[in-house]
């Protein structure tokens, strides 16, 4: 077929495209993924029975904002990487800033704490399982985000996959806080970050395999 004929074919009877509908897919992915993440947390892991009581502690809100900020930044990166030719914007600066801020808080917490308390601040009671449970809770979000990503046109596949994993991990971590009893900054700085990095790595690996178009 001549290229000219292909142009006629493509343009013949071309209809309007609903751009808002396209953007709405992200919200569906987030809502669907987060709902399943919540069901996993509430059903499999059980909600933290003293959750309400903990809302009075400042560290509770530090933890929630940490996950939420990372989730928002990751999600912005996802949305932008899904479209050809968009710059990344805030994410490449914002994410390191948030992570470093938590590390600074962790170091300060450890320095101020008495030496016999330090191991507990780092390990808490759930250090061994925390990263894996975050990855588990993040899984439905990762699937949903990659699914929607496939209907877009990412041109940097590894980054698009990694960003999907990072956003899924961070939002997954936020949902996981409804179960997690840990509030110490050193714990969050290490194990939450590791938990987020599991789906990030998985996403970076899956990106070039699943997102090609």
């Amino acid at each position: 077929m001549k290229t000219e004929d292909l142009v006629s074919l493509l343009s013949a009877g071309a209809e309007a495209v609903d751009l808002k509908l396209t953007s709405r897919r992200w919200l569906l992915a987030l809502a669907g993924g987060a709902s399943i993440a919540f069901l996993l947390t509430a059903g499999l892991l059980k909600l933290n029975p003293v959750l309400w009581h903990e809302t009075y502690k400042p560290m509770f809100w530090v933890r929630e904002s940490y996950c939420a900020v990372l989730g928002v930044l990751g999600f912005i990166a996802v949305v932008r990487l899904a479209r050809p030719g968009l710059r990344l914007g805030l994410a490449p600066i914002g994410i390191p800033v948030a992570v470093i801020a938590m590390w600074v808080l962790a170091v300060v917490t450890l320095v101020v704490a008495s030496p016999q308390n330090r191991a507990r601040l780092i390990l808490g009671h759930t250090a061994v399982v925390c990263p894996f449970l975050i990855a588990l809770v993040a899984a439905p979000l990762l699937i949903a985000l990659l699914w929607v990503m496939r209907s877009f046109a990412p041109t940097r596949l590894r980054w698009a996959g990694a960003a999907s994993g990072f956003a899924a991990g961070s939002i997954g971590a936020l949902v996981y806080t409804l179960h997690c009893p840990e509030l110490a900054a050193p714990f969050l700085a290490i194990w939450y970050l590791l938990g987020i990095l599991i789906p990030t790595t998985l996403g970076a690996w899956l990106g070039p395999r699943l997102l090609r178009w």
Partner: protein, 180 residues
């Protein structure tokens, strides 16, 4: 450059709003620009230019919903072109480049007229699609029938006709990719 951007962008916005005539002009201008871009980039593989050009046009069409009206259109097209070009070169390097008839036949096989024709035939590829995709594309896109008439002719619903066109063009792009 600024002029091209403004012109193409406004054509694209009209196209996305459903103006098929504007879309035709848009694709024609894009074809000319992409062709000269690909000729420059694919100097060593002249036989690939028209193939990749058609693949690019299909990609632009199938992915037009990913254009963000707030971004420069040229950046959007450029990113798609670069992605497809890299994709092609990667596929090329995987298949054995040395056995490709790059040197002998191309010069003589290509006349000015053939230059606008791809090595694969979209019409043939079209025949390989299932009827629920092939017929809507054939009637609406090639014969120029309306969606309503096509629905009556095929016994499909109007939305099935539209879905068939959409999925068929995506399947076509997939098939072209797997050939190259």
């Amino acid at each position: 450059m600024q002029l091209i951007e403004e012109r193409l962008r406004s054509l694209m916005l009209q196209s996305l709003a459903g103006d098929a005539a504007a879309y035709r002009v848009f694709l024609d201008e894009l074809t000319a620009r992409l062709r000269s871009y690909l000729r420059r980039r694919l100097g060593g593989l002249p036989g690939e230019v028209e193939d990749l050009l058609q693949e690019l046009l299909l990609a632009v069409h199938n992915k037009r919903h990913t254009y963000d009206p707030k971004q420069p259109l040229t950046a959007w097209v450029q990113a798609i072109a670069r992605y497809k070009l890299v994709d092609l070169l990667r596929r090329r390097s995987r298949s054995d480049v040395l056995t490709d008839p790059l040197d002998d036949d191309q010069v003589f096989a290509t006349t000015a007229n053939d230059a606008a024709e791809a090595q694969y035939d979209v019409t043939k590829l079209l025949r390989g699609l299932p009827d629920r995709q092939r017929l809507p594309i054939l009637y609406v896109k090639i014969e120029g029938a309306s969606v309503t008439d096509t629905a009556v002719r095929t016994g499909m619903s109007e939305s099935a006709v539209k879905v068939g066109i959409h999925r068929g063009l995506k399947a076509l792009a997939e098939r072209i990719r797997s050939i190259g």
